[in-house]
């Protein structure tokens, strides 16, 4: 029973994928996706409760294992998966109505999204870093066709870039894992790539080999997490993918890859002391923030704007991780959830704006407040939440990251990072206000309606739910506090 509950976040979406392949996408199966995501969330919460009460759980002969960090990441996957799933039927119906998709496309989309959820759940549940690697690489495979779903030139190109850059990056991570296994073998612990075994025997790992391995692992998983310098795939893939997929990729997949970096960091801290990986993370973080700031200032495409903002937030996570310490780690985890909620809502909103106006250019979307008040409200509040205004949780987590950074010896990097964050916030506000305000375009000009004007109730509810969740988290972490604290202690190596 217990092992079934633990494995449910992998098994339920896997079954969902099989179901979609067998029965296709139709009115009766459109809700299977939401049901499966809801079950993942429920299983994640149950697992988290057990972990808080009785400690780490494991199953499948020790292949999957959930400690507080895994349980927290499962909740992130379930929550954001649910938001994206609730908005998916309306999105697919609008695409089919506009002739950009068929029910076959919808079937494939749904089956791939379900496999996507299963692979992400496996990644965070893997006890062994090798299994984690396989799962992360599998996410690339299942999302490749989702990115290229539109079959336009831009979409196919984005998919190619995505697969080539991410696979090459993740191949470097594999080399890192091989070297880490070699170091572990010479340390004589017999742990192989089992994460807790590696942490326990970390001080016996050969420092020179481990250093080499850690560099490769941070670059490799950092590529998949969208950290500079190998971030070039991200704006293309996240802007070309269908909206619910962009929501999942930006909201969850990036953090799942970053979760791997966090696990590596614990081993590196114990084997090499905190300074080595801190330097790597600070470089990656500042480079990512710089890339995001410089390309956001003159950005003309709102989906790419959101994608660059994801690079910014990954940079912030890396800065927080560089600070280390339980407080910083709690803030990092909260930021993962808060950013995921808000960014998925924004990508769903952006997808809807694209369906309504037919253009992804910022300059061609105007007066959204008049034409689509609810949608405009969601996008407006979403951007305010994203730049870290209270009461939304991004405010609390950014504050936590900044405080930890100034306290823990990465003050200068944090100062530089905050300047860039302010520049990015200004750019986001100015671009969004141009879309929301302004005078209404002529009815037949660019931006003439191509989709039914009313926002479907369920999609609206999903987006508002995400924003409310983020606001509630910002006021109090509530029942999550215990889990967050446990997880932060694990990641800080305390």
């Amino acid at each position: 029973m217990n092992s079934l509950l633990l494995a449910a976040p992998v098994l339920v979406p896997a079954l969902g994928a099989v179901g979609y392949v067998a029965f296709g996408w139709r009115a009766a199966t459109a809700w299977v996706g939401s049901l499966s995501a809801a079950l993942v969330l429920a299983a994640a919460i149950a697992t988290a409760t057990q972990v808080v009460a009785t400690g780490p759980q494991s199953a499948w002969a020790g292949i999957i294992r959930a400690d507080a960090v895994s349980a927290f990441m499962l909740i992130v996957i379930g929550a954001i998966g649910l938001i994206a799933a609730l908005a998916t039927p309306a999105y697919l119906r609008a695409e089919i109505a506009a002739g950009r998709a068929s029910s076959r496309t919808a079937t494939r989309h749904s089956a791939l999204v379900q496999s996507f959820l299963a692979t992400m759940a496996l990644a965070v549940l893997a006890a062994n870093l090798g299994v984690l690697w396989v799962a992360v690489e599998a996410t690339t495979i299942v999302t490749a066709f989702l990115v290229g779903q539109q079959r336009t030139r831009d979409a196919v190109e984005a998919a190619w870039k995505y697969v080539v850059i991410c696979s090459a990056g993740i191949a470097l991570a594999l080399l890192g894992l091989v070297l880490l296994a070699f170091a572990a073998q010479h340390a004589g612990s017999g742990s192989g790539l089992d994460w807790s075994g590696l942490v326990a025997s970390a001080e016996h790992l050969d420092p020179a080999v481990t250093r080499f391995a850690v560099v490769l692992l941070v670059i490799g998983f950092g590529t998949k997490a969208g950290l500079a310098p190998l971030h070039a795939w991200l704006p293309d893939a996240h802007s070309q993918a269908p909206a619910p997929v962009s929501a999942l990729m930006s909201g969850v997949l990036l953090s799942v890859a970053f979760y791997a970096v966090l696990r590596i960091k614990v081993i590196a801290d114990a084997a090499l002391g905190p300074d080595f990986i801190r330097a790597l993370l600070v470089i990656a973080a500042l480079a990512s923030l710089l890339v995001a700031a410089s390309l956001l200032l003159a950005q003309r495409d709102y989906k790419r704007m959101l994608a660059y903002s994801s690079i910014e937030h990954m940079g912030l996570l890396a800065l927080g991780a560089a600070a280390g310490g339980p407080l910083a780690m709690a803030a990092v985890l909260l930021h993962i959830l808060g950013h995921g909620l808000v960014k998925s809502v924004l990508f769903l909103g952006a997808g809807r704006v694209l369906q309504v106006t037919g253009s992804s250019r910022i300059g061609e979307v105007r007066a959204l407040v008049v034409r689509q008040p609810v949608l405009a409200g969601v996008v407006g509040f979403g951007v305010l939440a994203l730049i870290g205004l209270p009461p939304f949780s991004v405010f609390a987590s950014e504050l936590g990251i900044a405080r930890a950074g100034f306290a823990d010896g990465v003050g200068w990097a944090m100062g530089a990072g905050l300047v860039l964050v302010v520049i990015i916030a200004a750019a986001l506000i100015s671009h969004t206000s141009r879309m929301l305000l302004g005078s209404q375009p002529a009815p037949d000009g660019p931006g003439a309606a191509t989709a039914p004007a009313r926002l479907p109730v369920l999609a609206a509810a999903a987006m508002i739910l995400g924003l409310l969740g983020s606001a509630a988290l910002g006021i109090s972490a509530g029942p999550l506090s215990d889990l967050l604290q446990l997880a932060a202690d694990i990641l800080a190596g305390a």
């Binding site: 396989v134 091989v178 070699f182 170091a183 073998q185 080999v209 250093r211």
Partner: protein, 224 residues
């Protein structure tokens, strides 16, 4: 079980296989005819399977023999077959026309990368005196050359070969260090690689459908 191979023969065979790996990587960098590059890649797979076979004979391990057969099937059979299929559908454009770096400079770069591989793998060599570990720099050089092919080639198919060269190199490092990353993980890795190649093969097909060629120079639409 099995007959233990004598030390001198073992070292010779090991070096032969490792030399084959590096030589094929350099050949893949040198030649431009895509069909030749694919054949070179298959030969490299053979060298890799041979390497695993030598290690299997040395350790008398039945499991490693099975793995060597698996490597042979995937890297000499399945992957080159997939590549040839991708090439067959690609019509007339069968040559790497204008690589970003010309051949002479590429070969110089390969030499530099090999030196770099020797430099960075010193910590490993220091950790263990085994002859297998002494071959690790060669495998690392293959990884680096693969990465170089990946970033300097314009044809989609050549980039794919670059990725596969990297993967061969990494697999070789794995076997040479003898670091057991676990059977589940190894099967997972092999499966992932085959799937990645399948995905990329389908994508090259779609690229041709949507814009004619698979020259990545045409991939310029998504710049900021």
């Amino acid at each position: 079980m099995g007959v233990r191979v004598s030390d001198a023969l073992y070292v010779q065979l090991l070096n032969l296989a490792a030399g084959g790996l590096l030589l094929t990587a350099v050949l893949a960098l040198w030649r431009r005819e895509l069909s030749v590059i694919i054949r070179v890649f298959a030969v490299q797979g053979l060298a890799l399977a041979g390497l695993v076979g030598v290690l299997a004979a040395r350790e008398g391990s039945a499991e490693l023999v099975a793995v060597a057969v698996g490597v042979l099937v995937v890297r000499v059979g399945v992957l080159p077959w997939l590549l040839r299929r991708a090439l067959a559908t690609s019509g007339a454009d069968r040559r790497e026309t204008r690589p970003v770096v010309n051949v002479a400079s590429s070969l110089l770069a390969a030499a530099a990368l090999t030196l770099l591989a020797y430099a960075v793998s010193q910590p490993l060599v220091r950790l263990s005196p085994e002859p297998a570990i002494h071959a690790v720099p060669v495998a690392l050089a293959v990884v680096l050359i693969g990465f170089f092919v990946l970033v300097t080639r314009r044809r989609a198919l050549s980039q794919l070969v670059g990725f596969l060269l990297m993967d061969n190199g990494i697999t070789a490092v794995g076997f040479l260090t003898g670091a057991g990353i676990g059977l589940i993980v190894e099967v997972g890795v092999a499966l992932d690689v085959v799937l990645v190649v399948l995905v990329l093969q389908v994508l090259t097909g779609r690229m041709r459908e949507t814009f004619g060629a698979t020259d990545l120079d045409d991939l310029r639409e998504l710049r900021d």
